[in-house]
Symmetry: C2
Subunit: 375 residues, 2 copies
Amino acid sequence: MKFTIDRNKFLKMLNTVSIAIEQKSPSPIYLNYKLDLDEKGLTVISTNGNLTIQTFLPYQDGDNIYISDYEEGVTLIQAKFLLEIVKRLESDTVTVDIIDEVIVDISDNYSKFRLNALKAEDYPQVDFELKGQIVEMEGETFKNIINQTSFAAATKENARQTLLGINMTSHGNEIDFTAADNSRLARKTYHADKEYDFSVTVPSKTITEVAKLIDGGKITLSIEENKIIFSYGDTKIYSRLIEGKYEFTKKYGNIAPNYVLQAKSDLLISAIQKATLFAIEKINVVTLAVSEDECHLSSSTVQVGSADISLSEYRYKGNYFEIHFNSSFVLDAIKACQSEDVVLTFAGEAGLFKVSNPNDEDLLLLVTPVQTYSY
Amino acid sequence: MKFTIDRNKFLKMLNTVSIAIEQKSPSPIYLNYKLDLDEKGLTVISTNGNLTIQTFLPYQDGDNIYISDYEEGVTLIQAKFLLEIVKRLESDTVTVDIIDEVIVDISDNYSKFRLNALKAEDYPQVDFELKGQIVEMEGETFKNIINQTSFAAATKENARQTLLGINMTSHGNEIDFTAADNSRLARKTYHADKEYDFSVTVPSKTITEVAKLIDGGKITLSIEENKIIFSYGDTKIYSRLIEGKYEFTKKYGNIAPNYVLQAKSDLLISAIQKATLFAIEKINVVTLAVSEDECHLSSSTVQVGSADISLSEYRYKGNYFEIHFNSSFVLDAIKACQSEDVVLTFAGEAGLFKVSNPNDEDLLLLVTPVQTYSY
C-alpha cells in the first residue's frame, strides 16, 4: 500500500475520525486508524467498540487530484502519532508507504517519519448501510438542537445510564430531543415532514461530537432498534444505543404561571454571574427575590462576604416571590434560549420552574430549585 | 475611609499589586491588599514577606478626576475577592466604603458586595526610598533583557538557591544579567553610562513579574546590599535578594569554532520541533548530524517510531559532526536570539556549545549537550 495525498484533506480526515480514539483502550487495536485504499479512494476508520466513524476521500473530484502514485491496500497505523505527524508537516502533500506490511514511512520533501504498522485482519467490521427509519434534516438545524439540549445531560456515573444520553422520541411527525440529569431537563421539538415511530437514546458524548463536525449541508440519521448511523457528507458514524427506558426523575406537568419574570438575557446573565461570587458555602446557590418594584439576585457566605445585585430592567407579574437555585443551571438554560429576552416562570417555591424563549414554543427548559431547608 | 474611584484605574492598580499575592500564605495578613488613602491619593500595597509592591493613584491629574467623595483612612481588604469584584463590575466608577472599621461595602449603581475588613496596624512597613546604586534604563530594554535571559533560570528546588535567581553584576559600566540552571546559561550585557560595583541575585519570579508590568517609559533600579527596589511610573517593587555566591556549575571559556552551523531561525525551529516527536524514551533528546552536504535532525524510540528531518537551507563550516541535545533548551535559546539567522558553534561533542545571534555580541547563550554514553 502506498499513496501521496493532499495534506490538508488527509489532516481533516484524521481529525474527523479522531473522535472515536480514546487515550487508553483495553483493546490496543482501537488505538489505530484503519486506512483502506481501494479502487474508489481512501477510507479512514476508527472505533472504540461503541462508536465507529469512517470518512472517505476519492482519488479525484473533477479536475482536483487528491491522491496520486498509489498502490491499493489496507493497514492499521497508530492514530496518535499519525495525526501528530500530519499536523506538523507543512508541505502540500504527504506520502504514506507501507514496507513489508509492518513498517510505515510518512514523508514529505524534507521529513521522514517511520512507525510500526499492523495488519488489518482483526479490525472489527461495521455495516454502515442505512436501513432503519431515515430522518434527513439540515445540518445546522441538527447542530443547534444538540447545542440547545446536550448541556443538560447527566455526566456523572452515578446517574441512571439512560440520562447519560440524549433521547430521541417520535410517534408521529414531531421528534423530541431530550437531555436531562437529576435536576434539570432540556427538550427541543423538531417538526419533520414524515411520520415516525421510535424512542432511542444516543450517548450524549457521541451526539455532541457528531454535532461538532457539522458545517452546513444535510445530515441523515438511520435509526434501528439497537443502533443509529449518522451520515454527513463523506463521513458515517455508527453508534450503539443506550438500553433502558428513558425517564426524567422529576414529575412535571404544566408550570402554573403564578410568578413570571421577563428580562433581557444579557442583563440577567451578568447579574447572576455577579451574584454567584459569594455562593461559596452553598456552591452556586443564588437567591432571586422579585416584586413589581425590585428584583435582586444575591448570595452570601458567613465570614467571607455577600453580593446583592439588582436587575435594572425587567417585567414581573405576581406577588413578592423568593427562590433559590443553582446559578450554573439557570445560566445554561438562559444561554440555550438564544434569545434577546428570556422568561422565568414559577408555580411556587418548591417545584420545577421554566426558563423560556418567548418566541420558541419548541424549546422546553426546566430547572429544580434548591430547597432552603436543606441548608 | 470612603472613596469613589475610576473603575479601570482601580482595576489596573489591583492587578499590578496582585503579583505579590499568593494563593495560600502562612500569614493571613498577606492575603490582603492594604488601601491607604491620604492627602495625596490612594496607595494600594501587597506583600508576601519577600516581595512588596505598591502603586499610587492621585485624586486627580489635570482635569481628570480619578477619586471623589472621599474620607481619608487605611484598611486591609481580602485581595482575591476585591479583585474579583472590581473585575466583574461594569460601571465607570466603584465606591468603597468602610463601615465601623470591620466591614467594607464595594458598590456601583446596581451591585453591592460586602466583605470583612481588617485594621491595618499589623501590616508590615516597607521603606521604598531609593538610596542604593541607581540604574536607570528604558523600560522596554529592561523587559527585553529579562525575556532573553530569564528562561534559563533554574526552577526546581533541587538547584542551588542562587540559580533560582537572575544575577546582575557590574564592576564598571557594563551590567551583566545572567540566568542559568545546571545545564544552560543565558547572559545579556547592558552598557550603562555610569560606573557601578555590585553583584546581586534577584528571585527570577520577581524580576519576570516586574518585566511584565513594563509598557514603555523608564525603570529605575536601586541596588543595596540585601535588597533591590524597582521604581516604574507610580509603582514601586521591593524585593529581598538571594544570598550566596552566584556561580554557573559548568566551566566554560571561549568555545572553539570547530563546527559552525548557521541557519534561518524559523526553519531550524520547525525542524527541531518535528524531530522531537519521537524523542520519547530519551525525553526531548534530538540528534544533529551535519556536514557540508546534509544536515539532519532526528530522534527515535524503539518499538514506537523515528523522525528524520533534513534542513533545506544552512551554511556549515567543519568536518562531519554529530551531537545530541535537549531540544527544548536549544529551542529556548534560538527564540531568545530574536534574529532571522542563528549560529550554533560547537568545540566538540562533549563541552558546552553556543547559540548566537550573529548581530548581537552582548548576548551569550550556552547549552550542555546530552552525552550519548549515558543512554
